[in-house]
């Protein structure tokens, strides 16, 4: 009988990483896993994230300012939509990030469950509210754009509906994380929920597409972009700026989550006693 055993897989990996295994593992693999192990050790990540976060933060500020100037001031008006099209500089990056962040969380969840990286839980918990905010932003900006263009704030179109469902999925993860007193158990439960959700997202997308579609197709990702360079460049800058913003905030939030989760561990004690003296 096949029995599903995650701990056994994890144990095998641990034996290989820590070198308790009888058989000599591959050298390359050890080096890779050693690096991952080092990266995923909370104190190391805490320091690294503290160094990296400001870089991403400033990069995102510069990109967002440049992208907003390019999009709101420099780019010409659309011949059909007038100035109303300019909301895509917020709407499209937010919508793209809303999907990206969920996938990222699922990847973090898988890593946390398979390799038991304590860090992955903190990253997942740190990302969820950011992703939910992106989703909400995409929905609200879409509604504001929809009122003059489609004549209505809301239609039960395929993309709008799946974005709304994505928001519910995010809220479910946040609710589950908040409901557990034991943060480690909550982290594992949320990881499983995220993975189940990520399996469900393509099904939702497909079912909703089949059900009803009105939203325009993508203009950006084609062999021949259907959007002029003067409009496209600021859009790409906004997308990269949103991504940098996410990384910066995620690193900061993950640092806070780590401190909270590890508040009784030695490195946190040393860190704060050292700073007080």
């Amino acid at each position: 009988m096949v029995q599903f055993s995650l701990p056994r897989v994890v144990n095998d990996y641990n034996m290989i990483i820590l070198g308790h295994s009888g058989s000599p593992p591959l050298l390359v693999f050890i080096i890779q896993m050693h690096y991952l192990q080092k990266l995923s050790s909370p104190p190391h990540f805490y320091r690294l994230a503290g160094t990296l976060a400001p870089w991403f933060g400033w990069a995102s500020l510069a990109l967002l300012l440049a992208g907003l100037y390019g999009g709101l001031v420099a780019a010409p008006s659309d011949y059909q939509q007038g100035d109303a099209f300019r909301i895509i500089y917020i709407h499209v990056p937010a919508a793209m990030m809303s999907l990206f962040v969920y996938t990222f969380m699922a990847a973090a969840g898988v890593m946390g469950l398979v390799w038991r990286f304590r860090l992955a839980d903190a990253i997942l918990a740190g990302s969820a509210p950011i992703g939910a905010s992106f989703t909400l932003l995409a929905l609200v900006t879409g509604a504001i754009w929809g009122k003059p263009m489609w004549g209505t704030w809301w239609v039960w179109d395929a993309r709008l509906t799946s974005e709304l469902i994505l928001l519910f999925l995010y809220l479910g993860v946040i609710g589950l994380l908040a409901a557990y007193d034991d943060k480690r158990k909550g982290g594992r439960a949320a990881a499983w929920l995220t993975i189940v959700g990520v399996i469900n997202v393509p099904i939702v997308k497909f079912s909703v597409d089949w059900w009803n579609t009105l939203h325009q197709g993508s203009t950006l990702f084609r062999a021949e972009p259907a959007i002029h360079g003067s409009m496209r460049v600021p859009l790409v800058m906004m997308i990269v700026g949103f991504a940098c913003f996410f990384v910066a905030i995620m690193l900061w939030r993950a640092r806070c989550e780590l401190l909270d989760r590890e508040r009784h561990s030695e490195w946190v004690e040393i860190l704060f006693r050292g700073q007080r003296r």
């Binding site: 589950l176 409901a179 557990y180 158990k185 439960a189 993975i195 189940v196 089949w210």
Partner: protein, 229 residues
Amino acid sequence: MNQPGPWHAFFALFRRDLMLAIRRRNELANPLLFFVLVIALFAMGIRAEEHGKLLPIMAPGVIWVAALLSTLLSLEGMFRSDFEDGSLEQMLLSPYPTLLLVLAKVSAHWLVTGLPLILLAPLSGVLMSLPMDAMGTLIHTLLLGTPVLSLVGAIGVSLTVGLRRGGALLSLLILPLYIPVLLFAAKAVADSTLGLSVIFPLKMLGAMLLLWLALGPVATVAALRISVD
């Protein structure tokens, strides 16, 4: 030692859950009454003069929403009492494959909540004045869809069973996952009232059933281990 096989454990647990459900007849009847009640409330929420026009249009969606909600109502019972009296822990510690044990519990849950919904389908169709031609499709969608509700619901319950107030959270976790079932099933029934082909949505419901049959119990076992841990 001569141990009974894994399928013996499956059927023993299946029989036990069925027996428990039959002994607690009230709990068995509640979701079904709720199902009929929700449908009746929807019909009463519409002006009586408009019934002839609106009810047949709304019937597929309303019947399926009522089925989702009544399933949600009965989900807690799948693991709650076993969690509280410790038998869930014993099941997870037992030498039998936990996937099979979870499947046994889900099958028993479907048999006492999903199957009665299918039996009530003609009644609900009559209440919502669903055209008789669409009745067959409604029963087919329920046959394929309600097992998915039990399988996906089991994941949600197992994630929240250890929480003090998991019930309110459960609906937030589970209902978004139920949406594809609702869309395919309700549109299939609606299409059949128009005389359109319903092969495609029925195939999709079947595909979803197979997918969740394969993946649902894996996630449920993992979530139960977290809750019992």
